[in-house]
């Protein structure tokens, strides 16, 4: 063949890079602006930490002054819309009830549904801004918060033509604990912040009745009522409106928009710039969204393709292997064979190739070496060997196809074996290769090409690809009767089949594929002799590999195109066309074409998607691939050693393979000519034969598999440290990936299970780097019980900055304290005062936390937990009772049961009953505090090290347990405390005394010793203090 090729210009690579950049830009825009992209924080969770501050009213003007709604006025507000399903239903309902409301909308959703934003305005309601992505604006940098506001303002301007400056931060609720910094940021940019007086918590689906109860509070005070018009199923909200509106109107309340309630001016018309910006951003976002959607579909397609291919390969390989050793060479079938070796500049290997052929001692073997215009003396080397059965034919350089045709013309036998000039065969290869010809329908047999030079990653990766991809695919093709390629390295043909195919064509660069397809279409059976091995020299440089694969890929495309009409044929041709070409199309062209997009999407997913599913997908696919690869290696009787480099193959090698496909496709499209590029030979294949030289150093003996194996192992063995390092790395990666997924699953589960609410208010401390103080509150509420909730148990957990131990102490429930607004009273009353008539536990807890902070002099708390009696019993039940040591006989004033001195396992009701007793024991409440502390220690024993036990307890507590952990998640907090074993929990006595006056017992007061104790806690010097006061430590 004449090497004449017009070089392909490289502009398509620029286009490719531009395309990838465009896709990345689209994904980045989508990642940052999709609604919910910032919404990883659960509603109700406090993220503003110690920047929170109590405002005196729910509407905060840009100058920072807070306002309340006038008495007898209610403003319904709906967050998170517009939603295509629920917003229209809420609007319909409001129209029926003839009520106007305020909708705080999410910018991204306005851009998606501008018609809904217009409908809200057209029907007389008011619009407010609720960020662009529903991100937790308190947790993002200030510039992003401002950008979210501006983008939403523009989106609303573009949709409705109005310039809206009412703003409600996502995840906000009442003015009692609002993010002062964020409200300040918004105010400086000219926005009026609107919080709520009454939070219906309708997002938690509490039932329509609960929503109505929350929204229709007694009293005349004006109220902004917080509900939702999007972000989930809002059927309960719609139902609640039907009762709520008549109930409020019936009490004489006026229902109006926020602006009307406060007589604010109508929003001005938006300027054309804002409208243009909004429209333009909407276009960018919708394109970006579409690109992300398409890419996701392609990712799914690529994953499905990869999965299907593995299934096909695994299934077919299993079936192929079960067909057994049908080609056993011991039966003596040895038909006369001509081997044709086309050789162009193969001086490095040709002698070894020919010698390996003669060493097979195959009876009557004829070898035709075609020297295709070599300039390195290839022909002379062969002639110099002076082997009687070898014929050397010389021709001017005309290409491999022409050389093969020349060889066939010189062959005198009916069975023709074609092998490359750089290939070494084993002693029994020829005998194994010809066995299938006992079946007269077999027209060609594919041999098993193996990579001889496995040094370096490149050789190893090619070795992997030969074994995993090519050899498995060949088994697939044989089982499906549609073999498209008998490899040029080693294959055998019946002369009649070659003649019927019209000889070897020069129309494609993959003459082996072209020829095989022609033979297959003619109806000949083509099989794969997996045990007939040929060791070939694979390209040893990236450039060489690129050129070889380019030729293969482009040649295969040419052959597929040339034989495209087979798709419509019946019989054998149809099988090749539909199954063979279909398989090649899907897995050798489409799948590699999707690969770059998959790579880009993976980067995007890692940045913007939950890490769990990305890791799960990635690990799952690779685990499957490793399984298939291990099976392929076993079938090929290969050592599994090199499998370690499979994961690394994903990084560079895979990209080279897909870039080759793109290059080939472009070449095909623009019609450039491609010539043969033969990689430089290094003689690595020939080097293998040195193992098979006799002691006299003269003639090679037969190549036996074991010898080649040994030789390869000796030459290319990786140092032990390298293999150990990589395996350790792979294990570490799998383990950490697994742990990441498991950790995320557990965290999500806790986050979903544990109810979170703001239990601390201004007493919440945000800096978790130093010592930690946590407030534990037990309340005496039982399921179904009515009446006031009282805090029966108040405990403080102190963890020093060293995080290696914990101290637990209790406050007497009758401790006399100053309660703001209620004078001097017992500390447990503060909970009831805070909870108020609505029995709002979070509010009760906030007041209790504030009072406790003042009473103890502690700066505040980093976390808090609130549990009621019902939850307590469930927890004890879940862990199958708890071991408690009764230190004196105790008679219950509640149940009459006497708890005898001694240790025993108690069930939930008994434990609760015992722990409530104080009146019948010495030291009363102080003894009871000690019992409760002992219980906490007993309950956590085993939970720290046993996540299953902890999980059980948390699930059992269910809704009875509420926690606040500030900025950190509950799981993160638990993780930070993992180093504290139960035997490192010290129980502390809080010394106090009774206070009485003429009227009798008033309550308890702390002794000076207790005051010092809390001072030591505040200065994180408890360990030192206790050394001087050992009596405070409970044994």
């Amino acid at each position: 063949m004449i090497v004449k090729h017009r070089s392909l210009s490289r502009t398509h690579w620029l286009l490719f890079l531009l395309g990838l950049t465009g896709v990345l830009a689209a994904l980045a825009v989508d990642g940052f602006t999709a609604a919910g992209s910032g919404g990883t924080v659960r509603p109700g969770q406090v993220t503003a930490g110690n920047r929170t501050r109590a405002f005196t009213g729910p509407v905060i003007e840009p100058d920072g002054t807070a306002r309340r709604l006038p008495d007898q006025v209610s403003a319904l507000t709906f967050d998170d819309g517009p939603d295509p399903v629920w917003t229209p239903r809420i609007l319909d309902q409001l129209r029926k009830l003839n009520v106007k409301a305020t909708f705080f909308v999410v910018g991204a959703r306005v851009a998606e549904h501008p018609e809904l934003a217009r409908r809200i305005v057209d029907e007389g309601h008011e619009l407010g801004l609720h960020s662009y992505t529903h991100a937790d604006l308190g947790a993002v940098p200030a510039w992003r918060a401002r950008a979210e506001l501006e983008l939403t303002r523009d989106a609303v301007a573009s949709a409705t033509g109005r310039d809206v400056t009412l703003f409600r931060p996502p995840y906000s609720s009442t003015p009692a604990g609002a993010d002062a910094r964020l409200i300040g940021t918004a105010g400086r940019a000219g926005y009026r912040t609107v919080l709520a007086d009454l939070d219906t918590r309708d997002w938690s689906l509490p039932g329509p009745d609960a929503i109505v109860t929350a929204a229709a509070q007694p009293g005349d005070a004006g109220a902004i009522i917080l509900m939702h018009a999007g972000g989930g199923d809002r059927a309960q909200t719609v139902t609640a409106l039907r009762t709520l509106v008549p109930a409020l109107s019936g009490r004489g309340r006026r229902l109006v928009t926020v602006s009307e309630a406060l007589s604010l001016p109508e929003p001005a018309a938006a300027g054309w710039e804002a409208r243009a910006r909004g429209a333009s951003f909407g276009v960018v976002r919708s394109i970006a969204g579409a690109v992300a959607d398409i890419l996701f579909v392609l990712l799914v397609l690529a994953t499905v393709l990869a999965g299907v291919r593995m299934l096909i390969q695994g299934g077919a390989a299993w079936r192929h292997a079960r067909r057994g050793r049908r080609s056993d060479p011991d039966e003596g079938y040895r038909p006369p064979v001509t081997v044709i070796v086309p050789a162009h500049n193969e001086a490095a290997n040709i002698a070894a190739t020919v010698e390996s052929l003669t060493a097979t001692e195959y009876p009557g073997l004829e070898i035709v070496v075609v020297d295709d215009g070599s300039v390195d003396g290839t022909g002379k080397i062969v002639a110099g060997l002076a082997l009687p059965q070898v014929v050397v034919v010389r021709q001017d350089n005309a290409g491999k196809a022409a050389a093969l045709s020349t060889g066939i013309a010189h062959a005198s036998n009916d069975l023709i074996v074609l092998i490359d000039g750089d290939t070494i065969i084993e002693q029994d290869t020829l005998a194994l290769l010809v066995q299938p010809f006992r079946d007269p329908k077999v027209g060609a047999v594919a041999g098993n090409a193996k990579v001889a030079n496995r040094s370096g990653l490149l050789g190893r990766w090619q070795h992997l690809e030969y074994v995993i991809a090519f050899n498995l695919d060949r088994r697939v093709f044989e089982v499906a009767e549609c073999m498209p390629t008998v490899p040029g390295a080693l294959g055998a043909f019946r002369r009649a089949a070659l003649a019927g195919a019209g000889g070897v064509s020069t129309a494609t660069l993959a003459e082996d594929t072209d020829l095989t397809m022609a033979v297959c279409r003619a109806g000949w059976k083509i099989v794969y002799a997996d045990r007939a091995c040929a060791w070939t020299e694979a390209p040893s440089t990236w450039g060489g590999l690129w050129r070889q694969r380019y030729r293969w890929c482009f040649g295969t495309m040419q052959a597929m195109w040339k034989h495209r009409s087979a798709v419509r044929e019946l019989g054998a041709g149809g099988k090749l066309g539909r199954r063979g070409l279909g398989y090649l199309m899907l897995f050798q062209i489409l799948q590699p074409m999707l690969a770059p997009l998959v790579d880009v999407y993976m980067v995007y997913a890692l940045l913007f998607q939950p890490v769990t599913w990305v890791a799960a997908l990635w690990l799952g696919l690779h685990a499957c691939q490793l399984g298939v690869a291990a099976y392929a290696f076993r079938l090929d009787r290969e050592r599994a050693g090199p499998l370690w480099s499979l994961l690394l193959q994903q990084v560079v090698y895979r990209q080279l393979i897909y870039l080759v496909v793109i290059q080939s496709l472009v070449t095909a499209l623009v019609g450039a000519r491609v010539g043969w590029h033969q990689p430089a030979r290094t003689g690595e294949a020939a080097a293998l034969t040195s193992a098979a030289v006799t002691p006299d150093g003269e003639r090679p003996v037969a190549m036996r598999r074991q010898m080649l194996d040994q030789q390869i192992r000796r030459k290319y063995r990786d140092p032990l440290w390298a293999r150990l390092t990589v395996w350790a790395g792979v294990l570490l990666m799998l383990a950490s990936g697994g742990a990441l997924v498991a950790g995320k699953v557990v965290t999500d589960r806790y986050a979903a299970r544990v109810q979170q609410a703001d239990l601390l208010g201004p007493a919440l401390l945000d800096d978790n780097s130093g010592p930690l103080n946590m407030l534990l509150v037990g309340v005496d509420w039982r399921k179904g019980a009515a009446g006031l909730i009282r805090a029966d148990t108040i405990m403080i957990v102190h963890v020093p900055a060293s995080r290696d131990r914990a101290y637990l102490f209790s406050l007497p429930r009758d401790l006399l304290v100053d309660i703001p607004g209620h004078g001097r009273d017992r500390i447990n009353a503060s909970f009831a005062y805070g909870a108020g008539g609505e029995q709002d536990r979070a509010r009760g807890s906030r007041l209790l936390a504030d009072v406790t902070r003042r009473a103890t002099g502690l700066p505040g708390f980093h976390a808090a937990a609130l549990i009621d009696f019902y939850g307590f019993m469930e927890v004890v039940k879940a862990v199958d009772g708890v071991q408690l040591c009764v230190d004196e006989d105790t008679k219950s004033i509640h149940s009459g049961v006497v708890y005898k001195k001694g240790c025993r396992k108690m069930d939930g009701p008994s434990a609760l009953d015992y722990l409530r007793q104080r009146k019948t024991i010495a030291h009363g409440d102080y003894a009871r505090q000690r019992h409760q502390q002992q219980f906490i220690k007993a309950a956590v024993t085993g939970s720290g090290t046993d996540p299953a036990r902890l999980d059980l307890m948390l699930r059992a507590a269910g809704e009875s347990l509420t926690v606040t952990t500030g900025r950190t998640s509950p799981a993160e907090l638990l993780f930070a405390l993992r180093g504290i074993s139960p035997d490192r929990i010290t129980l502390i006595r809080t010394p106090g005394h009774s206070v009485r006056d003429q009227s009798g017992y008033l309550g308890e007061a702390l002794n000076p010793e207790a005051v010092e104790l809390f001072r030591a806690v505040a200065s994180d010097d408890l360990t030192g203090y206790l050394k001087g006061h050992p009596a405070l430590v409970l044994s």
Binding site: L15, T21, V29, L151, R277, V283, Q558, K562
Partner: protein, 47 residues
């Protein structure tokens, strides 16, 4: 000599591909420009 599959001797496909490539490149550049303008405008508004 046999004609190679896909070979385009007239150069017509190459010219077509060049035109299609130019169109695609312009579309991509327009897209990147639109993204850049919008991002810049959003960031400017946030300042």
């Amino acid at each position: 000599m046999t004609r190679q599959v896909f070979a385009d001797h007239s150069g017509r496909r190459r010219r077509l591909a060049a035109r299609a490539g130019t169109g695609l490149a312009l579309a991509l550049l327009a897209w990147l420009g639109l993204v850049a303008v919008n991002v810049a405008s959003a960031l400017a508004a946030a300042r």
